[in-house]
Amino acid sequence: MAGLGYLIRRLATGIPLILGVTFISFLLMVYFGPDLSFELVGKNPTAEQIAAARAQLGYDQPFWVRYAAYLHEMVTFDFGRSVSTGQPVRGLLADAVPVSLALTLPGFVLGNLLGIALALLAAWHRGRWLDRSIMAFSVIGMSISFLIIIIVFQLLFSSRYGLNFFPVRGWDMSSPGAYLYYVTVPTLAIVFVSLGYNTRFYRAVFVEEVGRDHVRTARAFGAGAGIILWKYVLKNSLIPIITRVMFSIPSIVIAGSLLIESYFGIPGAGKLTFDAVTTGDQPVLKAVVSLTALMFVVVLIINDLLYRAVDPRVALT
C-alpha cells in the first residue's frame, strides 16, 4: 500500500533527527551534567563507596556505551526510576504531562483562535486604520515580557491589589470548578503573551492569500467578505496554520510553560524537566528528551499527511 510505504519511509528519515536530538541533549545534560555520586554516598565516603556509586550511576562506562544504553532504554521506553524521588520515570511523566496539557491547551487554543480572527480582520482592512491599530497593539503586546505579564496578572487577579479572586499558587483538576479556578489566570497570561505574535504571523499569511488572483475572482463573482475570509482565505491558508500549530505541540507537551509552572507552583512537565536538569536527574532527562524527539518526528509526519489532506496539489511521494 502506498500510504504504508510512505509512512515507513517517512519514519526512516526521522531517525537521523531522533539520533541528533538525543545525542546533543545527552551530551549536554548527561555527559556535561552534574555529578551525582556524592549525593548517593554518605558523609566522608571511602574511595570504594564512591566507585560503587559511580558504577551504579554508570559513570565508569565510556561515553558511547552510556549513549548506547540510553538508546536501548529509549526503544523500550523504560528509563527506570528517578534519582531524586525514587519514583518510576514513566509514572512521573504520566502525572506531569496531562497537567501541562490542561494548563497550556486552553491558552494555546484561545490565543490562536483570537489571533486568527484579528488577523483576518486586519488583512481584510489592509492599510486602513483598523489594520494599523491591530498591528500596533500586536507589537506592543510582543514587547511585554512574559514574566512581567505573569506578575501583573497575578497582581490584578490574585492579590489584594486587584480582584483577589483567583489563587496565587497551586493546581487542582479534581472538578471542573477547581480546574477553572486554577487555570484562568495562567490561560489569560498565555493568551496575552501569544496574541501579538499569532496575530502578526497569521496576518502576514492572510494578506498574501487575500492578494491572490483567486480571491479577486471570488470578489468578481459577488462573494462577500464573510465567505471570502472564512471559506476561501482560511482554507487556502491551512498549511501555514497547521504547521504553526503542529510544531508548537512538542513544546506544549514537554516544556509546558516552564515559567508559568514555576511561578504558579504547578507540577507540570516543564517543572519536572527543569528540576531534573538542576538536580541532574538523568533518568527523567533521558525520558523527556526521548519523548521530545519522538514527538517531533511524529509531528513532522502528521504535518505531512495533513498537507496532503488539505491541499490537492500535494501528491503522495
Binding site: 533527527l17 512538542p250 513544546s251
Partner: protein
C-alpha cells in the same frame, strides 16, 4: 550589477526609512538607550548599582530618583546599569548568531544538495526540534557557573533562522550573472561565497540582527528569573525577579522601573526592526 545593486538598495532604503515616522522615532529611542549604556561603559553612570544602603524601600526622592529596593539599593542606578547589561547581551548574541547563521547559511546554500548542506540542515533540524527553554536550561547547566553560558545557549539556537534565510537567498544569488562572471574569471570559491555573495545578503543579516537582539533581551529576563541568566552584575531580569518578593509586599518601584525600561526598549526595537524591513523590502506583507 554586483557593484550597483547594494548601493541603490541601501540609498533607497535609507530614503524610505527617513520618511517612516514610527521608524525614526523608535530609532531615536534606541539610540537614547544606547547612549545610556555607553555612559555606563565609560564609567560615568550607574556605577553605584551594588551599594547597599540602610534605607529599605525608600520612596522616590531627589537622592533616589526611583526609590530603593528592599536592600536599600538605588533603583535608578540599577536600571541604568541594566541598560548596559541588556546591550551587552543583545549585541553579543545578535552579532554572533547572525555571523554563525551567515556562514552556515552561505555554505549550505552555495553547496546546496551536497553532504555539507545536508549536514548543516540536519543540525538546524535538530536544534529546532529541541524546545528552546529545554535547550537553554541544558546548556546553561552544563556550563555551570560560566558567566557566558546563557549567551552560548542563545547563540547556538538563534542562528538557525538567519541560516535558513541566508541559505535561500544564496541559492537565488549563486545563479546570477555577477557570480557566473566571477567564476568565469577564476575567482576562488571561498572568495565568491564570502566576498561576492554574502555581502548581498546584508539586508537579511541586518534585520535578523535586530530581531535576535530583541529575542535575547527578552530571554534574559526569563532565564535570570529561573536563575540561569546573568551571574554577576545586575539586569532587568534580575531586578524583576528580585521585585517579585517586593511586589507582594506592596512595593512596586523596582518592578515598574525595570519593566518599563525594558518594555520601552523592546518596543522601540520592534518598531525599528519593522521600519527597517519595510525600508529594505517594500513588498513585505507584514506591517
Amino acid at each position: 550589477m554586483s557593484a550597483d545593486r547594494p548601493h541603490s538598495l541601501w540609498s533607497r532604503a535609507a530614503q524610505r526609512f527617513v520618511r517612516d515616522r514610527a521608524g525614526m522615532v523608535s530609532a531615536v529611542v534606541v539610540l537614547g538607550y544606547f547612549l545610556v549604556a555607553l555612559t555606563v561603559w565609560l564609567g560615568l553612570g550607574g556605577q553605584d548599582w551594588g551599594v547597599l544602603g540602610s534605607d529599605s524601600f525608600a520612596p522616590v526622592s531627589a537622592e533616589h530618583w526611583f526609590g530603593t529596593t528592599r536592600n536599600g539599593q538605588d533603583i535608578f542606578a540599577r536600571t541604568v546599569y541594566s541598560t548596559r547589561t541588556a546591550f551587552e547581551i543583545g549585541l553579543v548574541v545578535a552579532v554572533s548568531s547572525v555571523v554563525l547563521g551567515a556562514v552556515f547559511g552561505a555554505l549550505s546554500g552555495f553547496f546546496a544538495g551536497s553532504w555539507l548542506d545536508e549536514g548543516i540542515l540536519w543540525l538546524k533540524g535538530v536544534l529546532d526540534a529541541i524546545p528552546f527553554f529545554l535547550f537553554v536550561v541544558a546548556v546553561a547547566y552544563s556550563l555551570q557557573g560560566h558567566p557566558l553560558a546563557m549567551h552560548v545557549a542563545m547563540i547556538a539556537t538563534f542562528w538557525t533562522t538567519t541560516g535558513r534565510y541566508v541559505r535561500g537567498e544564496v541559492i537565488k544569488l549563486k545563479s546570477m550573472e555577477f557570480v557566473e562572471a566571477a567564476r568565469a574569471v577564476g575567482v576562488p570559491q571561498g572568495a565568491i561565497i564570502f566576498r561576492h555573495i554574502l555581502p548581498n545578503t546584508s539586508h537579511i543579516l541586518l534585520v535578523q540582527g535586530t530581531l535576535v537582539f530583541v529575542t535575547a533581551i527578552k530571554a534574559e529576563v526569563i532565564l535570570s528569573f529561573l536563575g540561569l541568566g546573568v551571574q554577576d552584575g545586575v539586569s532587568w531580569g534580575l531586578m524583576i525577579s528580585q521585585s517579585t518578593n517586593e511586589v507582594t509586599a506592596g512595593f512596586f518601584n523596582n518592578f515598574i522601573a525595570a519593566s518599563l525600561a525594558m518594555f520601552v526598549l523592546v518596543m522601540a526595537f520592534n518598531f525599528f526592526s519593522d521600519a527597517l524591513q519595510d525600508a529594505l523590502d517594500p513588498r513585505k506583507v507584514s506591517a
